[in-house]
Symmetry: C3
Subunit: 127 residues, 3 copies
């Protein structure tokens, strides 16, 4: 159910991207109650001139490593869960592939469960 879109610098290896994807997904599973096999991620490779980000907003020192993570998932997570998710993602990506916490930007978009069809035109999460 989460649809995760990850914008990162062009030219990273397949292994690097896999590590970023793993870090985000494992955080979702660990703290946000996402099933381990509920993984859908898209990576967008950005050229430097296609990203404009303030280098310091939000008490950060951003580098060209900036990684922008958009997560669309179901409504209902508490503020506590969201905070734990942010912290866990940053922790995971700091460990592997080694992205500084300054360079991890996260945005959540929430939708009702009925807004997903994973396959076959069914609405598996509908009431």
């Amino acid at each position: 159910m989460p649809l995760v879109k990850i914008h990162l610098p062009k030219g990273k290896s397949k292994e690097y991207k896999r590590a970023v994807g793993d870090g985000v997904h494992h955080a979702l599973v660990k703290v946000a109650n996402v099933p381990p096999d509920d993984r859908f991620q898209l990576f967008f490779e950005t050229e430097p001139q296609n990203v404009i980000a303030d280098p310091n907003y939000g008490k950060a020192q951003r580098s060209p490593q900036l990684t922008i993570i958009e997560i669309t998932f179901n409504l209902g997570r508490t503020l506590e869960t969201k905070k734990a998710l942010y912290a866990q993602i940053v922790n995971n990506l700091g460990a592997e592939p080694g992205i500084p916490s300054d360079d991890v930007f996260i945005n959540l978009v929430e939708v009702p469960g009925e807004n997903w069809s994973f396959a076959h035109g069914t609405a598996m999460y509908a009431p």
Copy 2:
């Protein structure tokens, strides 16, 4: 009003993409009350290493044909309409260009009508 973003494998022909776009749009018009000329679609060509999707989540057998469809449209569709929309999209894409129902992933994001400006800086759907 719907803004439709379609993520599909790189290297498909213009005709293939057009067929996918047609299938999604015709479903929106047929079951979700979208005007026939209210069509705005973006296609994103994905390389295999830029998509990580569980092969089986949601009782599917996904292939590299996986097509991820994001639809942003106005709030207010019923669950019944959403279900009919999923089914119609899968049906249309199965017929043309021939995408297995296992490979059609759909996510809806809903916004109020005042959140669109189609041109000229006007808010055509605002109350």
Copy 3:
């Protein structure tokens, strides 16, 4: 906080893209109470065959210059503010880089403030 995604024709210069980004950002700052240094923008260069847009929906005469702007920002802007934002963006982009008002398409997605982490895994806008 706003995450701005701008879809424009492939092949535009860095200066052109910067002007589009400036026009959108300055409008957000001027009429929507966005801090001047709260700027996060992604540009997507689209090939003609990857955009399908009705040429006339919404009383427009669209050209291949079509620029689709997605803005994700915090809930709470009034209709009046949204209308002023659309008008200001169109005005700014008309002046520089010179995009006709027919070719400016805008969509807003709103999220609560707790749905952002700008860096360090913190939720700066959480209550």
